[in-house]
Point group: C2
Amino acid sequence: MKIVIVGAVAGGASAAARARRLDEDAEIVLFERGEAPSFANCGLPYYVGGVIQQREALLVAPKQRLVDRYRLDVRTRTEVTAIDREAKVVSVRNLETGEEYEQAYDKLILSPGASPLRPPIPGVDLPKVFTLRDLRDADQLHEIVQTAKHAVVIGAGFIGLEMAENLVHRGLKTTVVELADQILPPWDAEMVAPVAEYLQQKGIDLKLSDAAEAIEEDGQAMRVRLRSGQQVAADLVVMSVGVRPENALAVAAGLEVGPRGGIQVDGHMQTTDPDIYAVGDAVEVRHFVDGSPIQIPLGGPANRQGRIAADCIFGRDSTYRGTQGTAVVGIFDMVAAMTGHSEKVLASASHPYLKVYVHPKDHAGYYPGAESLTIKLLFSPDDGKILGAQVVGGKGVDKRIDVLAVALQAGMTVYDLEEMELAYAPQFGSAKDPVNMAGFVAAGVLRGDHPMQHVESLLGDAADQPPFILDVRSPAEFEAGHVPGAVNISVDELRNRLDELPKDQPIVAYCQVGMRGYLATRILMQRGFKVSNLGGGYTTYGAMVSSRGA
Amino acid sequence: MKIVIVGAVAGGASAAARARRLDEDAEIVLFERGEAPSFANCGLPYYVGGVIQQREALLVAPKQRLVDRYRLDVRTRTEVTAIDREAKVVSVRNLETGEEYEQAYDKLILSPGASPLRPPIPGVDLPKVFTLRDLRDADQLHEIVQTAKHAVVIGAGFIGLEMAENLVHRGLKTTVVELADQILPPWDAEMVAPVAEYLQQKGIDLKLSDAAEAIEEDGQAMRVRLRSGQQVAADLVVMSVGVRPENALAVAAGLEVGPRGGIQVDGHMQTTDPDIYAVGDAVEVRHFVDGSPIQIPLGGPANRQGRIAADCIFGRDSTYRGTQGTAVVGIFDMVAAMTGHSEKVLASASHPYLKVYVHPKDHAGYYPGAESLTIKLLFSPDDGKILGAQVVGGKGVDKRIDVLAVALQAGMTVYDLEEMELAYAPQFGSAKDPVNMAGFVAAGVLRGDHPMQHVESLLGDAADQPPFILDVRSPAEFEAGHVPGAVNISVDELRNRLDELPKDQPIVAYCQVGMRGYLATRILMQRGFKVSNLGGGYTTYGAMVSSRGA
């Protein structure tokens, strides 16, 4: 068996190692355009920023180890330029020597990855306008940040924000420009609004709803002209506006690609040619939640897909279940994580959903160092099945998204979240874990225990009859900030002051996070009021207002 | 509706709050023998140690808040002394005034908890021999640790070890005495052997397989005489040898209790009297994995049970699913966690199981600060269903046990662990998460990809034909320590040195953690050798040897 693999990072490297374990006698050729196979591409921003100090640390599986240990024929700085499906050979060029040759295959695995987009604006090809994909990019950035003073990052996705953090670590005055009206576009806007505020506290100049129109030379430096009319000085510019699947080889060979260019594969990672497999960032897969076609560049799925392709080549029945879109990004001390669908995706697909927000502490409040986190849970109105979740905060965010990702994978409902028996000691959690809390609130909504109103309904999406807004927090909390027009009666006094409330007007009760609002809602419901609880309380209100640019 | 609740911590407090939310008009009386309801009992050791500095932090839901917010009739320092089931009244005594009276109920919820055992040894009632259950105990310990120099902790379970850590924080020379031959008896011995070593590094004198036979006064101090003949000086002694369900009220009232004294309840937390519910550490519940009766004192289950009891009282169909035994304990910087059954429980129940060990890093090795952790996974040989898991290490242990606890709850298999899409960024995990790794290894065993041998088979449980032991690590690793009798051929050279291996003798291959051993096993299997991989490699070997007191 002659297996040829194009691309030796993540999916390609996993496929190669798996293939060797399955067959000692296979001939396995691994082509890699860059200088090194299996490098830590998720570590590149941290090498630029000096968090990772040794460049060698990025070489996760050095070439010689792949040769010695796995008997792989690893050919770096070598590009595959064409596929002849009929003859089952690929055309190859050695980028060092210029030598060209052909390589036959029985099975071909494409793992070419995705390449950073460079929008067609004037100046995008200036020498100090970078993208960050491989070691060479990282080396160049690593050098320039030693002396540069000002940086502009274009695009506030994962890589853009990780780069921004690391530029700040290097002492650069950093501006981030993002076309959307929020950072981290896969998340819902109100969830990442606190992260955006935090970036600004860290000294990053964040320009949302803006775009670079041109990059101009300005002596030794550059000047980035924005659509808003502003100009920002830059010693370097990092373009991180998204990636595009590397599909040129596949398209030229007549393999099917999806509407956004991802190579089409079935559950066995097989392309429309049964002798060619494709894995990783270059392919279009199914979303786990609803089977919709998606392209998400993620390391975990790429690795699993590589393994599955190798399994299938050797006749094993191994099937990819789809991608959930589980992702996490740490920026300074804040962490944003998600799994499954966001609200905006559900809404745009007209997929029925309900949502709740909770804002608990990551561990027992009585133990030092507890930090707040926010969970947004999206679930089916019919059966409570989990459709997606987002968690934002500091410590403990990655744990909760993993718990929720497994719950999603298992097809669990919000009722299952109520019953989860998670590990509790005061350093690590609470007897009622944040995930339990999200389950309690969501299940309570489905059971009709507390009708819920969302902040959006208070922000101009006007109802016929404006509600009576009831703030059930303490007077001190109320004084520190409240929803315009709200009346303050603390929950502890509520039962004695029912006569101050309207019997016919809808009441929206809220507190800081939703707990006291829930109790107030229970009290008032049982006394015949038309009441609902404001989802996520004043904390979600604040995030929503902030996300709308107020 | 008149609801009377006995015990106002965890389960009792949860039941009371839930009952109020369900019914504004219910009369809810909460009796608590101690000074405060709803205190943080899991925080007591940390208050003694000064980690939690403010005593008020322990009062999670102060009495007045329960009164104001939930309109509960909270009666602290008040003991319920008898239940008249016929008349549906309880007899009550005010511990401050001595006043005695009766209190009628429609529904009674027992949440009396469990009391620390005091073994009947001479001196156990000396004034400076403590247990740690309530605020009074904590206050006394908090005072004495300010001046004491030497402490003896008897019992190396959760509370014993948390106390030991906190006594060290206070600068006391601390000895821990444990009857078993391991610390943390719910875990399997080899998993916690590294924790025991760590305790010793931290200066704790750990005496396993030993017991206190007497505690004698010695001037102002005491002397603990051990079965081994040793004597240990102590200014204070903490007894933490286990707890016993507080079943006296229930037994006197003729309610059924189980063989170990736990009050018997059904899935609705209803005792054998339909008007009496019981929750928390005092009840016997079903184990989630196999339905066997168990008593496990845990905060999470107690809270959920309280909620379920209140639900059922108000006619809701709420059912407790059983306890998984998910637990975590942090001791200095080490963390031990578990869920489901341990190997020793499965073995003693003759429940068929397989096991694997993995020793991955908590996050990507190329990002600074990665720490090793160990996962032991127990699963069904038939279908790969997860039966239990233990995780020990530092950072990231709590996350992995929660992921595995949810997988257990969902009835997932090791094949599902392979496919888990967990959140990956280099600070938080790896593209192949430790849980994925455990799944890969376990599923590989079930698929027959790598026959596995466990360390036990090398430690005297002699086979007919002693195996050829093959160490496939580097010569440097081999030199630093190896299995007696092992021959060293590094995996990278293995293919060239096959003629040094016996064709007919079984071969056991091992490396440091099992990865290279797996590859070696694959190589040798395909070349016709009778080979197996040593589960968990030399790391598990070392832990197993250490756990056997070598």
